[in-house]
Subunit: 406 residues, 2 copies
């Protein structure tokens, strides 16, 4: 693999982004199941919320002008004209000067009233008179029509991953069917004569399959569907058959194929054969993560990605390349990072983007080193930071932006 | 509700934590479906990973002592004794002095060898001789037995929410059945004569149900099961029947019952009737969130929580009280917060914990105010910070810890 021919992560992602057929399609999801899905269009409100003036307190709807002189010493006396009953039509309640109407929290403020005075400043005399010991400003304790959501407002924008409160906002606006992106369907193929299932005791020279578990779990965490996970020996015919089969039912085919030169070459050749647009990226300028391969099959609209065998590299490259591609295509913003101070000097790889695992301790990021093939340091890490191609490492005390693993 | 009798959030949570029957039970989950679940016990490794010395490079396994003098100008010649084939037993390969064996990345380093030299420093002469132009240190490019995971190591600790790489670590150690906590099963009941379904156009005095959507979605995001969501008018008999029915099949019953005094009193009375241990907390010292009620039924092991009607308050109290109780009981740590500088002065409520919604803009937290009943500011917010009971607000530029909504 020639360093002159490798792509940066961004170049590799952009090549995939130009494969129009990979653009996620949209569907409508029922509101109660839409949390965690990504919004495919901007959503506008067709209504004013609240649709009527609403009290924020248990109190009496009043005309604020009537209470100009009200105070502890000399309360103002108002006539009680009735009570607003939630869920019923209050339009018949009249509010001429000198009168008031009881309104519970959330109740409609009757026409004619312009404020609500809290019950604790009120004292009833019989059924029909109220002594009020406090003046109120116009609009006090009243939510105006459309103050929460105005007709025509953008409620939520395209690319938003819907949170519980967003589901609440959509419910408030009466939007019960939500346009969302259909998550990619992913097949994960682990190749290697040495791989055995985790339920097996490895024999001499054998090792348990790790990457198909991490990559499938990471895919599911992003909302992707898993079509299947397969473990296949280093047999070109068997791998080719699996790639061909995956084209029929998968949007993305992930091949985790070891990091030795022979295996990298075989994975690249087989992706090149399965994909009618061929191999797009053969090697990326990243450490770890160099032996990464991508390809695209236009006829079946299938994206291929060959990941490094090193578990840390496989997971980080999958996030930075494929999951960030999904985020870009669906209009989501950058992933959130947190700032932290590095606790020791960390070298970078010359000419390559370097991913550095870290554990956070308060505001400090402590570098964790996962040698090739190791997985436990990846569990120990809280996330990673990036050193750019032309960056000569970081020094103890430098601030870095950490991509956090949730 | 008497301010003297209200609990702090912590007191309310501690009262619930002392209801032993609410302690989550454990079950075993299949590894491939365990991501996102919370580990119920510490997991120890019963094996060394890797189980053999593994090469981190494509190269030649050597005895480092043989290469003491090797360099660009005067390479050392070694006899090639064969090749390690991944997945096969390499124990028959011999490594006497002056010899070497080809090992691909991840392959087993044969007995007798103590280092691997990268292929780029090697040149083959025929099938059996190799010129090596670089010395290596003992152990160079070799992962030792148990260096990733040593037998007896704690792999992962109780209370951990399993991430994709943790699934990988468990796979590596051959742990295919994982002890996890059984998530609570939750019934969400919205009460109110004024509530209509989101698919309905509200009539005069009516409003669409928001809280059952936000609370059910938040529950699912935490991994809880939703038994059912119901919308019931302010009818004591109907609500009582729903509470009784929920005791039979739910661990947690959430009643979102409006914030007017009459509704609060009714919710408290009905929870008191349904729960054999009665009402535990009647009002919490929080703003927003005061009208919060909890109760516990020991016979059916059911926890009741009556939430404020205000959507922001309902969601925040549900997180701080119920979800943090779940986190405490399952041994998870505090939720992660991010530090940010407040962009304006923000007042606190005297004697009460104050929750302040914020939107993050870079390192700044901009306060967002949701008046009673409003939901769109909760969607706009990225999270919230807390001002303690005895804290007199924060000033512009002060640093606060923001609980982020994902």
């Amino acid at each position: 693999m020639d360093l002159l021919k490798v792509d940066t992560i961004k170049e590799a992602r952009n090549k995939l982004a130009r494969c129009a057929g990979i653009m996620p399609v949209t569907e409508y999801a029922e509101l109660s199941g839409a949390a965690g899905r990504v919004l495919a269009f901007d959503i506008y409100s067709e209504e004013n919320i609240p649709p009527y003036r609403r009290s924020t307190m248990d109190g009496y709807a009043v005309r604020s002008g009537d209470l100009g002189a009200a105070g502890d010493m000399i309360p103002t006396m108002l006539k009680v004209r009735g009570e607003v009953v939630p869920g019923t039509d209050s339009s018949l309640l009249t509010m001429e000067a000198g009168s008031c109407v009881y309104v519970p929290t959330g109740g409609e403020v009757p026409a004619g009233a312009d404020a609500v005075v809290m019950t604790e400043y009120c004292e009833a005399f019989g059924d029909s008179m109220l002594a009020v010991s406090r003046a109120v400003s116009p609009g006090e304790n009243v939510v105006q029509i459309g103050e929460d959501i105005a007709e025509g407002d953008i409620l939520l924008s395209k690319g938003r991953k819907l949170r519980p409160q967003d589901i609440g906002t959509l419910a408030a606006a009466g939007i019960i069917s939500v346009p969302v992106f259909v998550p990619w369907k992913v097949t994960v193929i682990s190749t290697g004569d040495e791989l055995v299932s985790p339920d097996t005791a490895p024999g001499p020279g054998q090792i348990r399959d790790i990457n198909s578990y991490t990559i499938a779990s990471r895919s599911k965490a992003e909302g992707f569907g898993i079509v299947r996970t397969e473990r296949i020996p280093d047999n070109a015919g068997a791998i080719s058959s699996a790639l061909e089969a995956a084209k029929a039912d998968s949007d993305v085919v992930v091949v985790s194929g070891g990091s030795s030169q022979g295996k990298k070459d075989m994975t690249a050749a087989l992706i090149g054969k399965a994909a009618d647009r061929g191999v797009l990226t053969h090697g990326i300028a990243a450490k770890p993560g160099k032996p990464t391969i991508t390809g695209y099959d236009e006829a079946s609209r299938t994206l291929f990605i060959g990941l490094p065998g090193h578990p840390a590299a496989a997971l980080i490259v999958y996030e930075q390349l494929l999951i960030d591609l999904w985020r870009n295509l669906t209009g989501r913003g950058q992933r959130r990072t947190v700032k932290a101070k590095v606790s020791s000097n960390v070298p970078s790889a010359a000419g390559r983007m370097t991913f550095q695992l870290v554990k956070l301790k308060g505001d400090e990021a402590e570098a964790i080193f996962a040698r090739s093939g190791m997985i436990s340091p990846v569990s120990e890490a809280d996330g990673y930071f990036i050193m750019r191609e032309n960056q000569e490492g970081v020094r103890a005390g430098d601030t870095v932006e950490v991509f956090l693993w949730e």
